[in-house]
Amino acid sequence: MMKNNIIQILKIMVFGIAFWFLFLLITYIKKPLNVDLINMAGFYGEKKNSLDMVYIGGSACFVYWEPLKAWEDEGITSYNFAADTVQAESYQYLIKEALKTQEPKVLVIDARAFQYRDGDQPPNEVAYRNVLTGTPFSWNRYRFIEDNVPKTLNESTLSYHFDLIKYHGTTENNPISISFKLLTGNYRNELKGFYFIPKVKKLEKLNFATKNETPVLDETNKILDDLLKYLKTTNQKVLFVVSPYMETVNHKENFNYIESKVTKAGFDFLDTNEYYDKMKLDFNIDFYNFNHVNIYGSEKYTTFLANYLKENYNLLDKSTDSNYKDDWNSLLDNWHTMVDETKAAINDLIESEE
């Protein structure tokens, strides 16, 4: 009798595992194969402890920092662990995810999320789903959903835990081979989390200089406090960065406030908008909208930031290191092709406008 019960329980467990695998596979087949999924899931495909720098943020990260340019120019290994319209409350969970498999010399955090959370991009379903779509099931993922979805969105959490509930109705299916790689954490993002946008917009430089400080809203302030408190427990070197965009005086006052808090907590802060000239940013061709640079701008930004990181965080040139050389260099041809194609598309746009 006892033996039979054990056999039956084992059978149920095996069936449960088979069902769970099927469930996950279907989940990845049905998830939209977008930049957020491949950026987030691709991070888990990186070799353990292979990254010098992990850049955490939203689009203000993944259209700015070119990991393969940083590799080619400075021998820095990095990844954009970023999702579109990321919310500041996601950061703590993203960092915990990043530190599960990597021990970077520096963590770079996009500080703009603390400013736009109170402004034009408040928390919303899409922002949370963008982060969750490529994040595997874990206690950390569970906590992120339970800590934020009911409180901020006032929604049931079930479809956030199990994305299939949300996505099963889509008519498009991802190829099984890709879905399988995504599921097993073997999907490799060949752009290391970068995203090309072949657009251009002519902008005018704004004067945003001010020393005033304006606090962010209470909720955002608490998120920042909690994050800084958490970061202190990690012994990580951290750099908060504001990437170049059409920064205004009001925004700058917020960033001054954030900078004070960050530096008081013992971490570094860099508003790269103060270095337009040093970066040689051309407002006629380097942006694709008010808030983002295009490939021309990202090249200048990456060069500037890579130098800054090398100078301040003792990042070594790994371009001759046999553990990295072949692997990273193998991605460069495809990278150059895509850079050239994007630039050509932008040039066409500039010409047609002229």
Binding site: I26, S159, H168, T171
Partner: protein
């Protein structure tokens, strides 16, 4: 908490584990606690007072009737009071508005300035079902065919056993007491059969019923724009939808109950294979039909008034026809009540009451007609094609009934019937929503096979459990994958309530 929800299945697993972890003679306590927890999670806690009212009034009434009443007259008075109380509760919660609306309609006709206000009362889950079970119980105690339950908690369990609270089946106390109060021995077969049955029910509900609901809703949600074969397609799909929906719900309920070892009566027996309407109603919502016969139809026919009518019409119309008149009147009352039970509106009274009565009356008056036609035309009736013809004819009649249910207003149903004879201008693909053809075809194919085996007296699930492990697992995982991909559920979908849960 809905029964098609992740939380329900977690609740079920925990409840089943607790049930078997408890000593055998105390297992009914877990069923009671689970039922109360389910009720609290599925309804507002405020509605528990209605449930308590039903439990306490019938408990006191039946015990008093059985133990304190010395004469038949006393017994009858207590019986009528108890019955009155539970019917009054149902009436107030479900039917009061149909009378206020009727009063207002008449006051307008006669230019009276009466304006009765409709009352919005939230009825507790399953009230239409447990009220009928309670009426049956009170009648059985009055008749002496049941002993009243002396333990109020066991009585409460009979009233609110949670799988029965959603859409029935309507049960008898005598058949349930051994199922509920005698602790069931753990058996793996019960767990597996219950699980398979739930999966089968989910397939019917989430794929077939819910996918078809989208098409049906498109057509009848805007029925003024559709005509010709669109209306026919709509009502046929509604027929399949309502059957898959209700029987799928029953599968989940019966499967969940089976996991505790508690056997519930079946509510369907392959109704779409029925050869005529009488047979259809013997196979459709069986527990309601049986209940109505036992507690309405037979008592009416045995009553002195109906006996007198029988004698009167036998003298006037002859023995054969005279005998049928009391039956016709009894089934009129029976079907009017069934119509009213389905919903407090004239639409249901007509569609689920008067129309079936008309069909059955016609069948009764001309019961020899089909045989005469067959004899005259020398039709071969004992073959598949004739059976198919009979089943389709029956389904056609039922579709006419369901057409009145599909159209929200009774007055506009006739316009929709008229529209059937108008050729539609648009093509089929242009105006119906897209649906997963293959998944629906596979699910419906499985549904038909299981129903046909059932019609032939073969229990498909019992056959399935005898198959090899790999075959079973393959089929189960395939069905589960189909449900996960093609099932209609999740955010943006708010029609997950079962159609019969609303009755």
């Amino acid at each position: 908490m809905q029964i098609v929800s992740f939380y329900f299945f977690i609740f079920l697993i925990l409840s089943v584990i607790c049930y078997y972890a408890f000593p055998k003679n105390k297992r009914w306590i877990i069923l009671l606690i689970s039922s109360l927890v389910f009720f609290f999670l599925a309804c507002s806690w405020k509605l528990v007072f209605y449930l308590l009212f039903g439990i306490i009034s019938t408990y006191i009434g039946t015990r008093y009737m059985h133990e304190k009443c010395k004469t038949e007259k006393q017994k009858k008075i207590i019986f009528l009071i108890t019955l009155g109380l539970i019917i009054l509760e149902l009436f107030i919660l479900k039917y009061i508005n149909i009378f206020t609306l009727t009063g207002n309609a008449f006051s307008q006709i006669f230019n009276l300035n009466l304006s009765f206000k409709t009352i919005s009362i939230l009825a507790p889950l399953g009230i239409s079902y447990y009220t009928l079970s309670l009426i049956g119980y009170v009648v059985d105690v009055f008749r002496g065919t049941s002993e009243p339950q002396k333990n109020i908690f066991k009585h409460a369990l009979f009233v609110c056993y949670y799988p029965l609270m959603i859409s029935g089946p309507i049960v008898r106390y005598n058949e349930m007491k051994n199922e509920l109060f005698v602790g069931k021995k753990f058996a793996w077969d019960n767990i597996y059969l219950g699980f398979y049955r739930i999966i089968y029910g989910l397939m019917k509900k989430l794929i077939i019923a819910n996918q078809l609901a989208i098409i049906v809703k498109t057509i009848f949600g805007n029925y003024q724009s559709y005509s010709g074969y669109f209306i026919i397609i709509g009502v046929v799909l509604y027929a399949i939808q309502i059957y898959a929906d209700f029987s799928g719900c029953m599968d989940i309920i019966i499967g969940a109950s089976k996991m505790y070892g508690v056997i519930l009566p079946e509510n369907f027996n392959s109704p779409f294979f029925a050869k005529n309407l009488s047979e259809f109603w013997r196979r459709w919502h069986i527990s309601l039909g049986q209940w109505a016969k036992d507690y309405i139809m037979y008592p009416l026919l045995k009553s002195p008034f109906f006996q007198k009518i029988g004698v009167f019409f036998k003298n006037k119309l002859g023995k054969k026809l005279g005998k049928k008149i009391p039956v016709i009147l009894a089934i009129l009352i029976l079907w009017l009540l069934i119509g009213l039970w389905h919903g407090a509106s004239y639409r249901y009274i007509f569609a689920a009451g008067i129309l079936p009565w008309l069909y059955l009356t016609f069948s009764l008056l001309f019961e020899d007609l089909p045989q005469k036609i067959n004899d005259k035309w020398h039709l071969k009736t004992e073959n598949f094609s004739f059976h198919l013809f009979q089943s389709l004819r029956t389904l056609g009649f039922m579709c006419l009934i369901w057409l009145f249910v599909c159209v929200p207003k009774l007055s506009e149903s006739l316009l929709v019937i008229k529209a059937i004879f108008v050729i539609p201008a648009a093509g089929l693909g242009q105006t119906l929503p897209a649906f997963p053809v293959k998944a629906l075809a596979i699910s419906m194919g499985l549904f038909i096979i299981v129903d046909y085996l059932n019609y032939k007296g073969i229990n498909a699930l019992e056959q399935f459990i005898k198959q090899g492990l790999w075959f079973r697992w393959f089929l189960l995982l395939a069905v589960l994958a189909m449900i996960l991909i093609y099932g209609v559920y999740g955010p943006g979908y708010n029609a997950s309530d079962f159609i019969y849960g609303g009755f």
